[in-house]
């Protein structure tokens, strides 16, 4: 193992799933692709997206206080990559890339029709973290492709959908659905019982 003190840019922790963040202020709809995002709470359901102040979405989000988080199949990789390649300051991406969008059911946010899952989020908190701001949204509604999810926790069914993963440096990939393995907690618990000599 090599060791370095913190490098300038680094993506050791990639791949991250690529999401498309949608904002709308008045008639102005904008989309950006984002890799820095995560769930933050079940109850209330909170989702965080880290955005640089350099991004156009940052300005729009500050005004609108609502946003959508859209997840697309690898089939639509071009949409996600193209949206990430130009700024909404320079062009109306929806028109230019002919992206089908409807309005949110609960909030005034763009919902991508090509997406297999979309969160409608109301801004709950902003946390400044270094050169980015973490926008924390409360999820008020979810649009989803019924065939793409299973169980009561709505886990993606990767035989039906291929999530888009961002690996850095403008490279994208998807999952190997055949690699899927089940490791129930029970296995670990039984191992420990055995190890402790209780069996």
């Amino acid at each position: 193992m090599k060791f370095i003190k913190t490098p300038k840019k680094f993506y050791f922790h990639y791949p991250f799933i690529a999401a498309v963040i949608g904002t709308k202020t008045g008639d102005k709809v904008n989309l950006m692709s984002a890799a820095w995002h995560t769930q933050l709470s079940f109850e209330p359901p909170l989702y965080g997206v880290s955005i640089s102040p350099k991004r156009y979405t940052y300005d729009l989000l500050k005004k609108s206080k609502v946003f959508s988080v859209n997840f697309l199949d690898f089939e639509y990789i071009e949409t996600v990559a193209y949206v990430g390649g130009v700024s909404g300051k320079d062009v109306d991406k929806i028109s230019a890339f002919e992206i089908p969008v409807i309005n949110g059911r609960i909030l005034d946010v763009p919902v991508l029709q090509e997406a297999y899952a979309v969160y409608e989020c109301q801004l709950a908190e902003e946390v400044e973290t270094g050169d980015h701001t973490l926008f924390i949204g409360k999820i008020l509604g979810v649009h989803y492709n019924e065939k793409a999810f299973s169980g009561d926790k709505f886990c993606p069914n990767t035989e039906k959908i291929s999530p888009i993963l961002y690996i850095g440096n403008e490279y994208y990939m998807t999952v190997d659905s055949e690699s899927k393995k089940h490791y129930p907690r029970k296995l670990a618990q039984e191992y420990i019982k055995d190890w402790k000599g209780e069996i």
Copy 2:
């Protein structure tokens, strides 16, 4: 597309890369697996991990104020899954699962020798977000397998390593390295130029 108001538990946004969070207080070393984590800033380099107060790591982290974030190859899926299957309150996971650990170079944190990349993090901020707390760490050093990363941004080379993705419900998978596609920004920019009739 179906629509629901926020469900109780939901993983529409999975897969997320699985990380192993390491903490140490005195002689007590503990590991937990985590899916809710993301980069938050380049300068300073900040990394956030969302942890429930129910977790043993939560208590340890509150005391130690330092932690490690470890990324392992799919080859070590058992380590990651097992670590996620039992609590450090009940068992010393390092001993039970015979996990090779060395000490951090900069901080007093466990560094997994099986990992292909490890961040040494100093707690910079805690943000309470619903039923979890986001622990934001400043990365003070990175251990990494030289062969596994390329370029000055240290992007994972998925021909050399297979990151572990968590897809929910105790299922894990990895990437399809053959699916990798390059979408340079230039492509989108040229498309827009064309669309605007500038060519």
